[in-house]
């Protein structure tokens, strides 16, 4: 009933073993670089490398096709629009650039656990913490709570939809969404009380100590790993 909550595909390929921070940095640099380049002679090989990287992940073909169809329909529409409104050369440049980025990004997404990506993002956010704009612990809490609430909200949505349908209100989004939002707001009080009672998030000192060495990943809080959120 509940949708699967991660795009990660388990495996032991080169990309699976590469550190998440390297993969994300490489992707970011490649993304910036490819927007600066317009020559198909450079973008073509880039797209080829990205395709090889994606194939090296050894995702089951059917799954791969499912991931790629949606984006490539959009890409095809973009290419057609570029041919019609501008020139064939622009269409080739844009098509190559976007497919290279798309394939590379998918390769990283498929080979990196959600928890690893969140760890990297948390490390990137940490310097911002000094400016008092960002609270990395609060971000971590919000992420784990959101992962826990998505199936919950999904469940409630269907509950309300069935109840409304029984009373002949099936077509009205207002009748559907008002009770959903009100129920969620009401439960916020109880959930916050429960979180406070468990003294989460832990004090800053211990957090920094356990998060220091990158290879030994700190244990993720409940609900944060993909597996737990799926159940």
């Amino acid at each position: 009933m509940t949708p699967r909550l991660s795009l990660y595909v388990p495996g032991d390929t080169l990309l699976h073993r590469a550190p998440a921070s390297w993969k994300m940095a490489a992707l970011l640099l490649a993304g910036i670089g490819m927007f600066l380049v317009t020559s198909p002679a450079v973008l073509g090989p880039c797209a080829g490398v990205a395709a090889v990287a994606l194939l090296s992940v050894r995702t089951p073909p059917r799954q791969l096709a499912r991931h790629l169809t949606g984006p490539f329909v959009v890409l095809a529409l973009v290419a057609v629009a570029a041919v019609l409104f501008q020139s064939a050369a622009t269409a080739v440049t844009v098509g190559l650039r976007l497919s290279a980025l798309l394939l590379a990004a998918l390769a990283v997404t498929l080979t990196t656990r959600t928890s690893e990506i969140l760890d990297v993002l948390e490390r990137v956010l940490r310097p911002l913490e000094r400016t008092r704009l960002v609270n990395a612990a609060a971000v971590g809490l919000a992420v784990s709570l959101a992962l826990r609430f998505i199936p919950e909200a999904f469940h409630r949505f269907h509950e309300i939809r069935e109840a409304q349908a029984a009373r002949g209100l099936s077509g009205s989004p207002v009748a559907l969404l008002v009770p959903l939002a009100v129920r969620m707001l009401k439960s916020a009080e109880d959930i916050a009380a429960a979180v406070d009672a468990r003294c989460y998030p832990p004090p800053a000192a211990s957090r920094h100590a356990d998060a220091a060495p990158p290879p030994a990943r700190s244990p993720a809080p409940a609900g944060r790993t993909d597996e737990e959120a799926t159940g």
């Binding site: 992707l27 409104f85 709570l145 998505i150 949505f157 989004p173 916050a192």
Partner: protein, 200 residues
């Protein structure tokens, strides 16, 4: 009682209370779920409509500018983290540089402006109808104008289409989004009547 006390004690140290974090997470979950459920038939012919952007406007209008924007930022974070949280099960880094990446990032200022306008416009008028109308206007401006202001130029950069052509593409989605803004305004107004929470 104990909870209220400890919560206030925490505010002194960190500006965000646990309840705010919970509300942000709850609304980001609503936004995600509105993208996962099969689209409700809204009767606008030919335009594929999911309710996801409705959740964005709702977050701003119900939670207020700061928390609403943070709820959207959380959805963006989950997207980048590789979770299929966007409509149609999309997710991953690839979304950001793609043609629709600007719309996704535009949600954050969009929810902020929606919340700001609701605070400014919809809390003063005496008549119920005026407050309702003001909430709808806030959703239209924040959820459409602001989101498109980021989304359209982004599409243009990402795809090489000219600004004018990107605008034409966006117009295709305008009727559906306008309808959603009206629904979001009505929902937000009803929610705030049924369960008022303090705004920030």
């Amino acid at each position: 009682m104990m909870n209220a006390h400890t919560a206030r004690g925490r505010t002194a140290r960190r500006r965000m209370e646990t309840k705010d974090v919970v509300l942000i997470a709850l609304f980001s979950a609503i936004i995600v779920v509105l993208g996962l459920v099969p689209p409700v038939d809204l009767g606008v012919a030919g335009v594929p409509i999911t309710l996801q952007t409705l959740g964005v406007m709702l977050a701003g209008a119900v939670l207020g500018p700061v928390r609403g924007a943070l709820a959207c930022a959380l959805v963006v974070l989950l997207t980048i983290a590789g979770l299929p949280v966007l409509a149609g099960g999309r997710g991953g880094f690839g979304v950001i540089p793609g043609p629709t990446g600007g719309y996704l990032l535009g949600w954050i200022p969009g929810a902020f402006v929606t919340g700001l306008l609701v605070t400014v416009l919809a809390t003063r008028p005496r008549s119920r109808l005026a407050r309702q109308a003001a909430t709808v206007v806030a959703c239209l401006v924040g959820g459409i104008l602001v989101v498109y202001a980021l989304g359209v130029p982004w599409t243009s950069v990402s795809t090489g289409l000219s600004l004018r052509q990107s605008t034409v593409t966006a117009l295709y989605f305008l009727p559906g989004d306008a309808f959603k803004a009206v629904v979001a305004g009505l929902v937000a107004h009803n929610v705030r009547q049924a369960y008022p929470i303090e705004r920030r």
